[in-house]
Symmetry: C2
Subunit: 341 residues, 2 copies
């Protein structure tokens, strides 16, 4: 069978510090659109690729323990929405729509270890990179499973307008909580207050004393801090937690690219306040995916939960989209459109 073009985004070399567009190359490979004899892989046509902050960790020379880092010269891997072109696996057939682990290229041959079949197509397909995909599950597991929210509690979310944060805020409102978000621009703050239903929001870049800011928005303290950024924000939050508060530690995006991480000095406050801080990875919670869909799909259909996406078109724009996460260029979930069907 003939080979077809397969454009890819490959890692040029291991990255230290902040990633740059030039750390990735766009290369034109070729691929035979066929699953090799005897393999139970699936051949995917990639439609939407997800840009996620954790990806920079895999660009390092040494990746986090237990995760496979990228190889220079090979395409990035990541979450995406794809269509099955050919399947060597009994659970998948040609034409199936799936989301899960794929690669940054037009067509990918992958082992379907982390693929979910898409069964509801009355919502935008790209949602499976965000609200109905990994970030959605992350918000759901982190907020409900680790945060154990109760009606009337006070919730603070950082990186609040992003893929995960915007959902945490809406889940908090559905639970009857008071919720405040922080984000990095006026546009994002407006979005939080006017579209995403946050009670309050502020631009952390304009606050010189985060402790005072938090005391203003939370005179009674914070019950749940959904941690997306780390560093200075966390340190100020620790001064403002309530007794028996919870901090689901989802991410610390402000720290991922620093050679010397910022220091946190207020940890001793978790003792008298009996605070629980818990790091988690969404992969440990995918068994909840059916329950999550059952909860969320009706809310989406009724317009009770909304979702903001930031789309870029074409693999060529992948590096810029990815790098943009670390400067806050994205407004909402950063999606890369590779093909529409």
């Amino acid at each position: 069978m003939a080979q077809v073009r397969n454009k890819q985004v490959v890692l040029r070399d291991y990255v230290s510090g902040f990633p740059k567009e030039s750390d990735m190359d766009i290369v034109e490979g070729t691929i035979e659109l066929k699953v090799p004899e005897g393999y139970n892989d699936v051949l995917l046509k990639n439609l939407y690729l997800s840009c996620d902050p954790y990806m920079v960790a895999l660009m390092r020379d040494i990746g986090p323990e237990g995760f496979q880092n990228y190889t220079p010269g090979s395409p990035l891997t990541g979450y995406g929405v794809s269509k099955v072109i050919e399947s060597g696996h009994p659970n998948y057939k040609k034409g199936d729509l799936v989301w899960g682990f794929t690669k940054w290229e037009e067509f990918s041959l992958v082992s379907p270890t982390l693929l979910f079949k898409i069964e509801h197509t009355d919502v935008p397909l790209s949602y499976y990179t965000g609200i109905l995909g990994m970030p959605g599950m992350t918000a759901y597991a982190g907020f409900f499973e680790l945060g154990s929210p109760k009606n009337g509690e006070n919730v603070f979310v950082s990186a609040a307008s992003g893929a995960v944060g915007q959902l945490v805020g809406q889940f908090a409102k559905l639970t009857g909580c008071y919720v405040v978000g922080s984000a990095g621009s006026k546009e994002k703050v407006d979005l939080l207050k006017n579209k995403l239903g946050f009670d309050e929001a502020f631009n952390y870049k304009e606050e010189s004393d985060l402790d005072a800011t938090l005391k203003r928005y939370f005179p009674e303290g914070i019950d749940i801090y959904f941690e997306n950024v780390g560093g200075k924000t966390l340190d100020a939050v620790l001064l403002n937690m309530r007794v028996h508060g919870r901090i689901p530690v989802c991410g610390m995006v402000s720290q991922y690219n620093l050679t010397q991480p910022e220091s946190v000095t207020n940890l001793a406050h978790i003792i008298f306040k009996r605070v629980l801080m818990q790091g988690f990875i969404v992969n440990d919670f995918y068994h909840l995916y059916p329950k999550f869909l059952e909860f969320l799909l009706p809310h989406i259909r009724e317009g009770k939960v909304v979702y903001v996406e930031d789309r870029d078109e074409g693999l060529e724009n992948g590096p810029a989209a990815l790098v943009g996460l670390y400067s806050g260029r994205n407004v909402g979930k950063q999606v890369l459109v590779v093909a529409r069907d």
Copy 2:
């Protein structure tokens, strides 16, 4: 009725930074050995007083939220073992031995809100300031309830020879764990290895690279870190936790007296490693006290759990004993003997 002498240790003035002996005064008050008409307080003769690291937090101008700080000119409060001299409360009668909240003086009139009746006197009475009292319950709740230890896991304990730490290590051994302790002198390290059954122990003051030290003792990483000290030790531990590790945060004694707390920079490691850090206060766990006694008393009687105490005699020596906790002067549980019966 006649007044009798009542020697007291009183706070001279609010303390900032490290407490000094001179921050406390020994004064000779008097007391009428009688519960005032209509009160349901109890009148105690104090036998053993407990010196505990948290006490410095109550010597500050502003104490921790939800806790009553000390008043200059008034005696310190704290845990102790006492004998009931007279009782206005139906649950207590003259001659009862109790442990719980009392004051740093010879006789105290207290409301019995946090008093436990001592029912087993075949063990040293002073044990109720330590292994069978608050520090014992702290080790038990922190290790078993928050640490969720499993046979074969790797446990690290800081301030390991102290009131709480020496028990955590022994509980870890009873659970079939590998346990390493850190302490501040050769004498303490020897105690840990030769008397308290720790698998390994080291003097943290002699280690220039704590990360390397921990990697030496825990080539496979740490499942449970029982946190007593905070600061540098915690920062090195964060680099060495295993996936799904737990950090019961019992105390951070190295930080209590610093005007500028040490910085912790490795918190982001709790995400990929899915680490749980949980601050706790023993007061939330006293409902487990009967279960704790049932578990521990047989082990003490059979000599399977031992306990090291460091005793000072007389209220006059109270300030030095208390202050000594913050320089590691105490070897084992610091007890102040006020009277023997």
